[in-house]
């Protein structure tokens, strides 16, 4: 589904990704781990198409076509979803309104009719119940005054509604207490299907106790330095990131 080849990227003239390659197939869950500044979040932003991140070399192919030439909204409509590390507040814009606009943008792209209001509400309430969210959230401003946990749940709700082919969850576990973490993880697990790929970007192994990855990659200085199965995460937890750096250098 996603093939990344020798990706180089910089922000503000500083190189962050330095030749990263990765293949993700439908149905797989990949975890990308690494110390702060290793380029994890940059990778997520580049896939989603943030304009501040400039790709200087390499290629990204998504569903067999070049991804990098697409606008962020085109990528989203094609099924790429980014769960933000810091979900953005948009005062005055109601959550339901954003969700519906996003769903309809995608449906239009797929040549489908707009979802009707009743159907939308039913679906939203269903998904919210699944995530243990209060339906009142729908009528609040997007992330406006939400707690950290509420924001992250809201991201997963959007993912559940938009039903992406490829979901990248950037530090979805950061700032969550254990109950919120479990709720978010359950939400993600319920969205695991053979058609959908999920990439988890995380600093800690903790999230992987609840969402079991098929593959674990360790990122250091803009490259994947080790790949393995879920045991790699445990080993990392045990030995710390210095071990990776040494491995990368040595």
């Amino acid at each position: 589904m996603l093939e990344i080849e020798n990706l180089h990227s910089q922000i503000g003239g500083t190189d962050i990704l330095r030749g990263l390659s990765l293949n993700v197939n439908a149905g797989e869950v990949h975890a990308i781990m690494g110390p702060n500044g290793s380029g994890k979040s940059t990778l997520a932003q580049v896939i989603a198409g943030h304009e501040e991140y400039v790709v200087t070399d390499g290629s990204v192919t998504y569903k067999g076509a070049d991804l990098l030439s697409l606008d962020p909204e085109e990528r989203a409509r094609d099924g790429i979803f980014l769960g933000f590390q810091y979900p953005v507040e948009i005062p005055g814009v109601n959550n339901a309104y954003l969700l519906k606009a996003a769903m309809n943008a995608k449906r239009k792209h797929l040549g489908l009719e707009e979802i009707d209001a009743f159907e939308f509400l039913k679906l939203a309430k269903e998904r919210m119940a699944m995530l243990g969210m209060d339906p009142k959230f729908l009528n609040r401003g997007v992330n406006e005054g939400f707690s950290g946990g509420e924001k992250k749940r809201n991201e997963i709700l959007q993912m559940a509604m938009l039903e992406p082919s490829l979901a990248i969850l950037d530090e979805t576990d950061s700032g969550l207490d254990i109950d919120a973490l479990k709720a978010v993880a359950e939400g993600v697990n319920s969205l695991r299907t053979p058609e959908r790929a999920i990439v988890l970007v995380t600093h800690y192994q903790r999230l992987l106790d609840y969402i079991e990855p098929d593959f674990v990659h360790v990122l250091s200085e803009g490259r994947i330095v080790r790949s393995g199965d879920k045991s790699l995460a445990l080993e990392l937890e045990d030995k710390g990131y210095d071990w990776v750096r040494e491995a990368a250098n040595g």
Binding site: A48, G49, E51, P72, E73, I90, G92, V93, L98, A102
Partner: protein
């Protein structure tokens, strides 16, 4: 004389010749007592009206144009303006929508304006408009049943001179300011509303349903009186773009709320703002003021201002009656070369008077948008309360957003709060929306509408929907 000056004179002469040609009723440009007598005579006004106008003219002569607003424009030649133009005859109007500028129709489409309204708005001759006359007649009957007077100002001068005499100029005195004085001297027409004691006006009054509404001209005068315990909601303007060959518009609106009465006055202003370079837009210098004369009365102004090259407008409330309430909700958009200096004044005189100000200014392109407001609490206004929220949103690097709030508080039991913020649409907000599949333009519209939400919710329902669409059209091309 430079060739440019000669050219402009030649053009002007041509214009005049043209006007005289089609309508003998129009007056040549220039202003003097004879012009005012002629205006009054043509309208068959009673003597008191003529006297009133002449006094206003004398006062105007002694006044100077205000220059304190945060706007720039070339000097206006008041002697180059024609102060009376007869309404256009049907022969001069387009016969059908096919004759109307397709660009205008395209905008109507974007705004979602119903077909039959488009014809009326574009000035298509009346017999071609489907059923606005019959609709209006029906409404007129309903209003008469309730005892509500809703007519043109000219009609009111003839049919209800005692009301006009009593209230005209009682809120905005003739010499209130330069443009109010000018308006008082030469006003062409406008609306008159009287709601009798205890009556709740059975429908929202809109200029749309006023008979003889055609071409009220550039000096409009509106007077609304809500007698004791009455209630009225009045809608002015419309979202459709309004074009006018007259560049200067100086309207006066006076509202009087007697004991326990409530007036809600909503405006959507979409006069032609000029092109991207600011050429040809309307100068909108308006004086709007409401007087909460009776105890427990309430006046609420809601406005969505997207048009005009220059807007100079401060709908105000004089809170005279005890416990009276004044409100001001405003969205002012300035794009391209537009300049807006708008705000409000809340004058607390009576005890326990309350006022709320919510102002949302949006600046885009090379526009300048200023909020100017005054909250004044006089010594006798015990327990007065004011809350002001004043926010500005910047779109683009070349625009300006300014805030000039004045607070003059002379009573120790007053509570006055003022908050203001200025921010831009953040790149993060845009990216977040786009990542959810929403186009950049839709995302901007969404964010802007969210920013204005507190004001839109004060508008009558249908108006609110149109106002949102209008905002989107007004900011088209502002980002990107």
């Amino acid at each position: 004389m430079s060739s440019e000056n000669i050219e402009s004179i030649v053009n002007r002469c041509y214009e005049h010749g043209f006007v005289t040609d089609i309508a003998t009723e129009s007056l040549p440009p220039g202003l003097n007592e004879d012009v005012i007598r002629a205006i009054s005579a043509r309208k068959n006004e009673p003597e008191f009206m003529l006297e009133w106008r002449l006094q206003a003219y004398q006062q105007w002569l002694e006044m100077t144009e205000p220059d304190w607003a945060h706007v720039n424009y070339p000097p206006i030649d008041f002697n180059a303006i024609s102060y009376y133009a007869a309404p256009k005859s049907d022969e001069d109007r387009p016969k059908s929508l096919d004759e109307v500028d397709p660009k205008l129709l395209e905008t109507y489409d974007k705004l979602g304006i119903p077909l039959h309204e488009r014809a009326r708005l574009a000035g298509v001759a009346v017999d071609a408009v489907f059923d606005s006359v019959s609709v209006a007649t029906t409404f007129k009957g309903k209003l008469a049943e309730a005892g509500v007077i809703f007519c043109s100002f000219s009609e009111a001068v003839h049919d209800h001179p005692e009301l006009v005499r009593k209230y005209l100029g009682s809120v905005v005195p003739r010499r209130d300011n330069f443009y109010a004085a000018l308006n008082s001297a030469v006003f062409s027409d406008g609306s008159f509303v009287y709601i009798p004691k205890g009556v709740r006006c059975p429908m929202e009054l809109s200029t749309y349903f006023r008979i003889n509404a055609a071409n009220t001209g550039q000096f409009e005068r509106t007077l609304i009186i809500a007698d004791e315990g009455s209630h009225v909601s009045y809608l002015e303007g419309c979202t459709a773009p309004m074009r006018d060959e007259n560049q200067l518009h100086a309207a006066v609106v006076e509202l009087v709320a007697l004991e326990g009465a409530e007036i809600k006055y909503s405006t959507v202003q979409n006069w032609y703002p000029g092109d991207e370079n600011g050429v040809g837009g309307i100068y909108n210098f308006v004086t709007k003021r409401g007087d909460c004369r009776g105890d427990n009365s309430k006046i609420s102004w809601t406005q969505v201002e997207t048009g005009s090259a220059i807007t100079w407008k401060y709908p105000s409330c004089i809170l005279r009656g005890a416990n009276s309430v004044g409100e001001f909700y405003s969205v002012a958009v300035a794009n391209n070369m537009q300049q807006a200096d708008t705000g409000t004044k809340m004058i607390h005189i009576g005890p326990n008077t309350r006022s709320t100000i919510v102002s949302k200014g949006i600046s885009a392109g090379r526009a300048q948008n200023a909020y100017r407001g005054l909250v004044k609490v006089l010594p006798q206004a015990h327990g007065a309360r004011n809350h002001t929220q004043c926010d500005s949103l910047l779109i683009g690097k070349e625009c300006g957003a300014h805030t000039f709030p004045y607070m003059e508080i002379k009573n120790p039991s007053a509570k006055v709060e003022h908050e203001a913020t200025t921010s831009k649409i953040s790149a993060n907000q845009l990216f977040y929306c786009r990542q959810r599949g929403i186009s950049e333009e839709d995302a901007v519209n969404m964010i802007v509408n969210g920013f204005c939400k507190e004001v839109f919710k004060e508008l009558p329902m249908e108006f609110a929907v149109e106002a949102q669409a209008l905002l989107n059209v007004s900011l088209e091309g502002a980002v990107g």
